[in-house]
Symmetry: C2
Subunit: 375 residues, 2 copies
């Protein structure tokens, strides 16, 4: 019996990685639904290769044939009866509705959409409780933590340690950071990713988002989630248990394993997607403390996570907008964290008990940053 | 409900470590039986502290009071009704009988006695099958592997990688190794252990024994067990799974965790025995290939393991005798491996289907080495 998979965001980096993995795992999984944002040409190729029963295109440019179009296609694909697992690789807040729809219908969500938990951590927990669905993370750090915990009860976990490559500015002196250029920021040492995520890993805002996600995914308090810089990106994260033992998940940097594991968890299946890890070749492994004062976005994000309510949504939206402004050359690298801090200070924290409230917070934060830059 | 523990070898390094751990875990475990080899004074202190129902002394020097004496006390202690877990920290082949007795009575054996599996791997499997007992390893490398596998099925394991500190001669040139002195050999970089084990870690014979033990403990073929040198002894071993993921168990070098975990597996309990692992403090972690040609004892041991039958017992006994001769200054460091090789070449391999056959092989190998040295 194969399990039906819906891939939301099939033409993006995670989506194409997932299709590479699934092309090798046809005995276990079938592609039931594919949706893409706007890349109709690539989606068409994918449809020809995998023959999904459902195809959606969020923003069609010209003809989309028999495909469903518009943003509703995400929830539609995630809700289908023939879908057992929804790989949510949508970028942005639009991913949240689809996650909730899948969880309410008892499906597994393989989650690569940060907004789902950062904005809607509390709504997501409620939807899982109602519908019996479960979230399994795709992000390499969270996948590592899940693999380290395995099926052990959470009460045995003392501490999570999320590793950070440190980004391209890991060893830059503080005074140079302020005016780091876009070209500098896009030179990521170990992972090849999209521009937004690469900038997030230069500011360490990505680690703040990961800490918030880990808090919701694993039910661990912020006091017990640490971040450590590990430039080689070989140890994908650690878990320290109550008896003092530390379990780490390691390997070559590759997204194929976390994608596959999110589908098969708690089982493991034969797969050749990850280059074999040779500890000698990858030696030495180094670890450094986070330069908290020089990368303020990390501390701001964790502060937002601790505050809860709509503040994580404010942090996330302000960061997205600030990165967009940086990518457009309108603010300096140092300005990204200042924009986030301004938004978090200026906007009143609200509760996060509805999608509407979260969207309002998201919108207010973006507007704040845009206006701040325009002034 | 506390579980009853028998400690065989309570005055040795592992035994005293175990009592330190158990003094903190009195809510879960009670000491039902203690046996020691000959250190009556320390045993008396332990008895006063833990009040075991049974006390045994293998080799009494003078009065032993109400204690049982003689080598039979090991099997007696291991067979008691009030004992749920037998921590077998006996040095030498005498540990094998006690392991078999406990397994046949359905008990858990927390195993720190190498001879049990190296000599009697096949007998042990049979005894477990008959009586329902189980072996849980105490050795830090095997404990690490068990912790990495957790409760996952063995079919998901692709490869075990056992780490080796490399011992004091890790970076010595080949020509100097031949005449390395006892003082050189006893300068172990990371672990503080007895003299025999320290010499074994200088020849890498200890890794050969661990590979053989891992083969029996985890049911993994020799082709899929590797050794890698890791001088910091922070990564205690790795497991590579069929999907390419690598899970490692890490932490400060300390025997308290493996001892505790052998008692609580698969659960973990709160304990403060292991110093907290600070990845930054312990950075960098390095890995090197084994210098197979310069440390021939490792290859000889694995060859014995692959051959099976009584050859692992021959390897083990020849090594023990050769190390004793080295400790007494009668052979050079290089002579240890030559003695082992001679014994393995000269003695016909027999089957290992009885304790008697194993003891005969053990005895023949010791005699061979003694005679070789005397010539």
């Amino acid at each position: 019996m194969t399990r039906g998979v819906a891939i939301l965001g099939s033409t993006g980096s995670i989506g194409t990685t997932a299709l590479r993995v699934l092309a090798r795992q046809r005995e276990r999984f079938r592609i039931s639904a594919l949706t893409a944002h706007s890349n109709a040409a690539l989606l068409e190729e994918q449809v020809a290769q995998f023959h999904p029963a459902y195809v959606g295109l969020v923003r069609p440019n010209g003809g989309a044939g028999a495909w469903r179009t518009g943003p509703e296609c995400l929830v539609e694909a995630a809700s289908r009866k023939d879908v057992d697992v929804v790989l949510n690789a949508v970028v942005g807040a639009a991913g949240l509705d689809a996650t909730l729809a899948a969880l309410e219908r008892g499906k597994r969500v393989a989650l690569a959409n940060k907004e789902t938990l950062v904005m809607g951590g509390e709504l997501v927990s409620q939807a899982s409780a109602r519908g019996g669905g479960e979230i399994v993370p795709v992000d390499s750090e969270h996948s590592a933590i899940l693999q380290c915990i395995g099926s052990r009860p959470r009460s045995e976990v003392r501490r999570l340690v999320i590793t950070a490559s440190g980004g391209p500015f890991r060893d830059w002196p503080r005074e140079k950071l302020e005016t780091a250029t876009l070209a500098d920021a896009l030179r990521h040492p170990t992972w090849r990713m999209g521009r937004k995520i690469t900038v997030d890993s230069a500011t360490l805002a990505n680690k703040a988002l990961e800490v918030i996600e880990a808090h919701y995914l694993f039910g661990i308090s912020y006091d017990r989630i640490d971040v450590v810089v590990h430039p080689q990106s070989v140890v994908h994260s650690f878990v320290e248990f109550v008896d003092g033992s530390v379990i780490a998940q390691m390997g070559m940097p590759s997204m194929e394993l976390p994608v596959l594991y999110a589908l098969t968890h708690p089982e493991r299946v034969h797969d050749a997607g990850v280059p074999p890890y040779d500890p000698v070749e990858m030696s030495p492994l180094t670890f450094e403390r986070v330069r908290w004062d020089d990368f303020p976005a990390l501390r701001l994000g964790i502060k937002a996570g601790r505050a809860g309510g709509a503040l994580p949504a404010v942090f996330n939206a302000a960061n997205e907008e600030a990165v967009a402004q940086f990518l457009d050359g309108r603010i300096t690298f140092g300005g990204i964290a200042r924009a986030i801090e301004g938004a978090m200070r200026s906007l009143t924290n609200r509760s996060a008990d509805s999608l509407e409230a979260l969207r309002a917070a998201d919108c207010a934060a973006r507007t704040y940053v845009k206006e701040m830059v325009a002034c």
